[in-house]
């Protein structure tokens, strides 16, 4: 495997995701076993999909929570979608904040749910910022690997 400065940067960045609890090491390692020469862009595609879908889910959650009355069925669906996809790619903090929001929402406290949503949005923005850079670096690193 190549050990260029870019690959070293990728390793360091990946490790920082694990150290900061943004990504689950075990889940990411598992996903990496599914990537090979038949599907070399597997991880990159997954992360790109998550960036796109998670933003959409959070926007829908926000609209549903702001609606009068609150759109419970949309909230329920979007929360499960976000819970599921964040668990699937190992996005631990997003998954954690989603579970917190779900619990608060199910307890019926809408104001606390809105506060919890703000926390989720902050975590998501932080994660997204870093993941976009990481995906960009993955794209750049590809031709020399394969």
């Amino acid at each position: 495997m190549a050990n260029t400065p870019l690959h070293q940067q990728l390793s360091i960045m990946k490790q920082s995701f694990f150290d900061e609890g943004l990504l689950d090491h075990e889940q990411v390692s598992y996903l990496e076993t599914l990537e090979n020469e038949d599907d070399p862009d597997f991880i990159e595609n997954l992360f790109t999909m998550f960036l796109r879908d998670s933003s959409r889910y959070i926007d829908s959650i926000e609209k549903a929570l702001e609606a009068t009355p609150v759109d419970y069925s949309v909230m329920e669906r979007m929360l499960y979608q976000l819970k599921g996809s964040s668990a699937s790619i190992g996005a631990s903090k997003i998954n954690g904040e989603t579970n917190t929001l779900r619990k608060v929402f199910h307890d019926g406290d809408i104001e606390s749910a809105k506060a919890s949503l703000q926390k989720l949005k902050e975590e998501h923005a932080n994660f997204k910022e870093k993941l976009v850079i990481y995906v960009g670096m993955l794209k750049e690193a590809k031709p020399s690997e394969y």
């Binding site: 599914l34 997954l46 499960y80």
Partner: protein, 138 residues
């Protein structure tokens, strides 16, 4: 085709599976996971698509059925498939962990239930329950 994993598949027809999930990430992961295990598979985006695929005459050894989907959810799709006489192994896949909700899904006609995210080990534990034309041995 025989596919070697920890043990080996008994020789027989290649296994087929249908992934029923509305989430593109889970579709991608489960499709790849099954592919790596040597299981030919396709994806349906919701319960209705799963029904339509079966109505077109296709059959599968294994159906991975997500619970929460738009248009037709996994519970309704499972009930309909069983009512149509589909005897495939149907494994419910969900993030739900409340006993009552799992029970409701099982009662729709599932053979097994697994919590997301799916892994090769979880798929293999499902496949162990399938009585195929040969049997699966490890």
């Amino acid at each position: 085709m025989a596919t070697h994993i920890n043990g080996s598949w008994e020789l027989g027809a290649k296994m087929t599976a249908l992934v029923v999930d509305d989430d593109s990430i889970n579709q991608t992961i489960h499709h790849r996971l099954l592919e790596q295990l040597g299981i030919e598979n396709q994806v349906a985006r919701n319960g209705k698509e799963a029904i339509d695929i079966h109505c077109s005459g296709k059959k599968f050894d294994l159906i991975l059925m997500d619970r929460d989907m738009p248009i037709m959810n996994g519970i309704e799709a499972t009930r309909k498939l069983r009512a149509m006489g589909i005897r495939s192994m149907i494994a419910g896949v969900s993030t739900r962990c409340v006993k009552q909700e799992i029970q409701e899904f099982m009662e729709a006609g599932l053979d097994d239930y697994q919590e997301k995210p799916l892994t090769s080990a979880k798929i293999i534990s499902i496949l162990r329950k399938i009585h195929h034309s040969g049997s699966i041995s490890y």
